[in-house]
Amino acid sequence: MSAPASTTAAVRMTYREACKQAIRAAILADPRVFLMGEDVARYGGCYAVTKGLATELGEERIRDTPLSENGFVGAGIGAAIAGLRPIVEIMTVNFSLLALDQIVNSAATISHMSGGQFAVPLVIRMATGGGLQLAAQHSHSLEGLYAHIPGLRVLTPATVEDARHMLQPAIEDPNPVLIFEHVMLYNREGELDPSVTGVDIVSAKIRRPGRDVTLVAYGGMLFKTLEAAALLQVEGIEAEVIDLRVLRPLDMPTILGSVRRTRRVVIVDEGWRSGSLSAEIAARIAEEAFFELDAPIRRVCSREVPIPYAAHLEKAALPQAATIAATARTLVKGG
């Protein structure tokens, strides 16, 4: 007897829908799991991820909070310690700064500070990134800042598959896990292979193999980087594209393995260059693989400005496929 087609055929869906399915499945699977955040229930989520879920699962499991970021993130930490498995949604990374105290001073420290008596099995999801002309208080990519903090695990699902499957292992992780969803990905469609029932939250993945240069990216930048790789291919340059997936802890073996093969690397990061995640990756490559490089390490990052409103300025501030391709080209063909 052959399996029904529906269980094997890939399903096309948006990234948003994949996030939503992940939340629904996690809540249905475990009575300790619930989601709370601003406008997640009645409004349906500021990026519509949880639309309809409160009706389906009840407002105890999809809980609206007042505008009290430090308060409800801290409550999530307390509830996690007390035995629940909360998923806290913060509308965007810019607003997570109001909860930075609880995330950095409590969530990230309690297991160590208590000598291992307590763990904080908390998941915090939030949107990140620019591209929607939302200006300087809604557009930043501050995930690199969180990747600086010991005690946290930082995930950046870029594909529909990761959006669908990274949540469950994040909930099972005994430590606080931050999940960053890039705003430009929510409407993006992708294939979900029903035979894949889970993913890890440990490794980076090679999304496109190539021999000439390694392009390291994550989140919203993955697709601009793949676009850049396509541009390079036309010129006969084969770029290997790595999707970091996990910003902390970094999967250095995958990055170094690729760089040792291609001997050239460009790191793409929507965060600002100074003191960034890209700086950390560059430093580690220099520490571990300096003598195997044929060219200097290059980076394509956001320009060092608060993201402006005007479309042409915003575009100029953010990394673009053409810039990524141009940077890789100079490495391969020489400046």
Partner: protein, 328 residues
């Protein structure tokens, strides 16, 4: 010394004009958003005009204003030019912030308009500091700080009330209580929904006023400001109002009923004043038509100005990230 509100023809005409300018400007903004001339997040003030017009009427030129992302009304009432505002919404360099801020981040040095803050509650501590500066520098000015009911949920509201009271600072806290923070109804967000009452915990004087009645708002604001200047202490004015439109341009409004919106629409501050003026014979229909005509021309001119505006050169992108000197 109480400055009386004179309910004479000239003043009432002025109040109606001020509210109508905001209303018509924003109706145009709505259209321009549909045609993608304006992008990003845009939050309209439709229904709440009496709050900014009434409060700002009570301010002096030397006073300062701190506002939120829903600040077109405050900007126009304060005298920021419609041209500069519209150009800002277009993202043109002729805009009041050179197109870098957009709808949510209007600033204007000339009128001491300190933004345009899109972090809920973000403006309150800034208002405390502005008043502290005025006090220490011996300026006889107050700071009016506008914020929504949602900001009351944030710690910054409570910290700011206490700081202002503790340091005896001239801040007029103006809560625009429109009963919702996005889709979050006030009674689902606050255990004590009477916002004015909370002030007592900080020993701040307060009053709640009908925010749909511009004269009532102006009278209450004048009284509050007299009290601030007399006692050198902050004051919390809760203006009970309602937004007729969606929270922003992306809001299906699943959280409230059409009937509720209609009930509030019957209290439309612009219509209320207009029909009262017509009924009492203080303003004739043809004079109102004349005002409407002038406003329509001003809005058209603002659109033309914004259309003719230019894009800031990309080479200037990093300008103003830091400054060489403090502007005087």
């Amino acid at each position: 010394m109480t400055e009386k509100v004179h309910l004479d023809h000239a003043h009432l005409r002025h109040l109606l004009t001020a509210m109508l300018r905001i209303r018509r400007f924003e109706e145009k903004c709505f259209e321009l958003y549909q045609s993608e001339k304006i992008r990003g997040f845009m939050h309209l003030y439709d229904g709440e005009e009496a709050v900014s017009v009434g409060v700002i009427e009570a301010l002096r030129p030397e006073d300062a204003i701190v506002a939120t992302y829903r600040e077109h009304g405050q900007a126009l009432a304060r005298g920021i030019g419609m041209n500069a505002l519209m150009a800002e919404l277009y993202g043109k360099q002729e805009g009041c912030c050179r197109g870098r801020g957009g709808s949510m981040h209007v600033f204007d040095r000339a009128t001491r308009f300190y933004g345009g803050n899109a972090i809920v509650g973000g403006g309150l501590p800034l208002a405390v500091g502005s008043a502290l500066g005025d006090k220490i520098l011996g300026r006889n000015a107050i700071t009016a700080c506008f914020f929504g009911d949602g900001a009351v949920d944030e710690g910054s509201f409570h910290e700011s009330m206490n700081l202002a009271a503790l340091w005896k600072l001239p801040v007029l806290f103006v809560c625009e209580n429109n009963l919702y923070a996005m889709g979050m109804a006030l009674e689902r967000a606050e255990a004590e929904t009477r916002i004015a009452v909370k002030a007592a915990a900080y020993r701040v004087a307060s009053e709640a006023v009908d925010g749909m009645n511009v004269v009532a708002v102006e009278v209450a604001a004048k009284r509050a400001i007299d009290e601030i200047r007399r006692a050198s202490e902050p004051f919390l004015l809760e203006c009970r109002t309602y937004r007729f439109r969606a929270h922003s341009m992306f809001d299906a409004q699943l959280y409230r009923s059409k009937a509720e919106i209609e009930t509030w629409r019957a209290k439309d501050p612009v219509m209320q004043l207009r029909s009262w003026l017509e009924q009492t014979g203080l303003l004739h229909a043809d004079e109102i038509d004349h005002i409407e005509g002038e406003i329509a021309a001003e809005v058209d001119a603002a659109v033309a100005f914004a259309e003719a505006g230019t894009w800031e050169p990309v080479e200037d992108l990093e300008r103003f990230t830091t400054m060489d000197r403090v502007p005087q």
